[in-house]
Symmetry: D2
Subunit: 206 residues, 4 copies
Amino acid sequence: MSELDGDYERAGFRGTLRWGERPAVIVVDVCRAYLDPSSVLYAGVEDAVESAARLVDAARDSGAPVIFTRVEFAPGGTDGGLFFQKVPALASFVRGNPLADFVERPRPTPDEVVVTKQYASAFFGTSLASTLRTLGVDTAVICGLSTSGCVRATALDALQHGFVPVVVADACGDRHPDPHHANLFDLQSKYAEVVSESVAVEHLRR
Amino acid sequence: MSELDGDYERAGFRGTLRWGERPAVIVVDVCRAYLDPSSVLYAGVEDAVESAARLVDAARDSGAPVIFTRVEFAPGGTDGGLFFQKVPALASFVRGNPLADFVERPRPTPDEVVVTKQYASAFFGTSLASTLRTLGVDTAVICGLSTSGCVRATALDALQHGFVPVVVADACGDRHPDPHHANLFDLQSKYAEVVSESVAVEHLRR
Amino acid sequence: MSELDGDYERAGFRGTLRWGERPAVIVVDVCRAYLDPSSVLYAGVEDAVESAARLVDAARDSGAPVIFTRVEFAPGGTDGGLFFQKVPALASFVRGNPLADFVERPRPTPDEVVVTKQYASAFFGTSLASTLRTLGVDTAVICGLSTSGCVRATALDALQHGFVPVVVADACGDRHPDPHHANLFDLQSKYAEVVSESVAVEHLRR
Amino acid sequence: MSELDGDYERAGFRGTLRWGERPAVIVVDVCRAYLDPSSVLYAGVEDAVESAARLVDAARDSGAPVIFTRVEFAPGGTDGGLFFQKVPALASFVRGNPLADFVERPRPTPDEVVVTKQYASAFFGTSLASTLRTLGVDTAVICGLSTSGCVRATALDALQHGFVPVVVADACGDRHPDPHHANLFDLQSKYAEVVSESVAVEHLRR
């Protein structure tokens, strides 16, 4: 454990949340914008996306629900509000732009729920929390892009809404390692359980 | 600008949000738990709290609303849900614990709204967004504790709810400088305008 | 079944929601303002309140959680927003007014969660949904005051948040029978299961 | 004024909310399902829909934003949760069903925001409140279908979120006059200003 980890633990952070009995995998914003080298948002996150695809495979094998999120804005970004103004790159997600499309792997099946969102958190301005409750889900296994943005925002809101957030470190990517690691530190300290792909897969297969 | 800042800017982050016409100052969780040296949560954030007090003075002088948040849980933390389980230190905020009390400065006047919350974001599980809307507020000037926790969560939700988040760096504190700076970087990159106390005070006094 | 019931049923309303495995009783706004004959809000709902008290007894006997809601506004009603402006009678609920106090029966024990709210729905601007989720609750058994106001708003939001709303007709009151019955009709048609006290008590005691 | 109106007024309900400076028209769920005589949900609301179309014309003439809502569920209604279970008729809104399509008049232009929802309130599980705030809207002029369902739920949430709800009685329809009138009574008593088409149009044209 690092010195900073120890300081937080002594201060009463870094408690442990246990997996519930009914996990679902939430795949956050894995789309061409981050994986197409010609995109301004290209982030070099191929390894994380492959890990996310294996996580999705494990969930499907085990019968756990898989839910994908995607971003879509109206022309001009009116429904993107201040977020659309703060991050000009979000223009890649205006309706009809192929950069917003899913990639080959992971990719939702016709039966899986796709949550369309306009903000960072997959819970904000969507009916995701209600869907999870109706499905009896108690644990949100979170992967996708990017760690310091939509993944963290989604994990925070999962906790706030009452779903145990499990963030799969290997299956989350960011355009730079510093924000990736800094956000995993905050998540483990205050909001979520940060685990490796192998630990998550083992839990899903139980 | 650092190399990382430049990389984010080229990728289409770090846009600029302009102050609206009606700011309010939101003072997040400034209470004895972080300032009493005998508290497990003591964070050594006296300078930030003094800066927050000056920011509140400027808001009051200018007629801008000031809203304080505080944390309070029912006995046993039932209404704190998973957050209470993840962060054992939150036991300091069970109803009746004096560590949850406001400090001398800044401190709400009898007429100022106090938002009682159970989660990290001042908007989650509270009527803050509705109050700001009814007051005609369009800009949330945010200060308090801690940068990597409730301040960031509040700034993110301010943006998501449609209020321009202005985070006053000098008036926000954290128990360690690394998470403080890492979170200010994320906030400026994606969600908020991070400014100094002097810039914020100048805007409020306009 | 009435003619109107039949018309709705043929149109595809009036489906049936089944009780889940973990109910909680939500007691909405049972306070002196509606029961003190000198209060402008006095509603003549003594019978409904006695029914609510028996429902609470049954829940406690069975180990089901009981959650009470109460209304409280800051001085001047700033945090009551437009609702406080639309309903002048809400001035009875400004902090410190004894009309906002609980009555003798039903009344929360020190261990039961009390949700303080500013709006009609017990879910709006509160952390109630998160508390229910963390407690594993799947069914919200709703009673209190008034049927056409906070009871209906709470039942609608229970459904929207993913908790089966069971509205106990005998234990809900209104100042006039017409809105009481009209709202129970809407609730049964679209959002909730409307049941008698005896049916609810029988379910709780299973 | 009716006897019931008088009783409510003496009890401190029926205050008046004033129009703000920036209204938007919200057109709730006007789609083929309610207007195609072969649909199980056919409601005989042609007059209300014509009134809504004239209201939309007035808004466009005046430069006020117009926002349309529509309902869409994933196959099987998974994202419709308990609402989809309670109201079997909602199967008409599963993705791809032409009954969910807009009608000729009113109908969104390519530039107008369309909010896709799964629940009764246009604010629940959507980013509508954030969009209205970003547009500077303070008044929600509401029309559409049906009065006792999505219109009332939307008006209640508009009030709760801090937007003055103006419900245009002529431009709202229901399958039966009793719930239509009972809900307009509740709305005027507690949550909204209920006005005629001519009053609304006059305000929009100011």
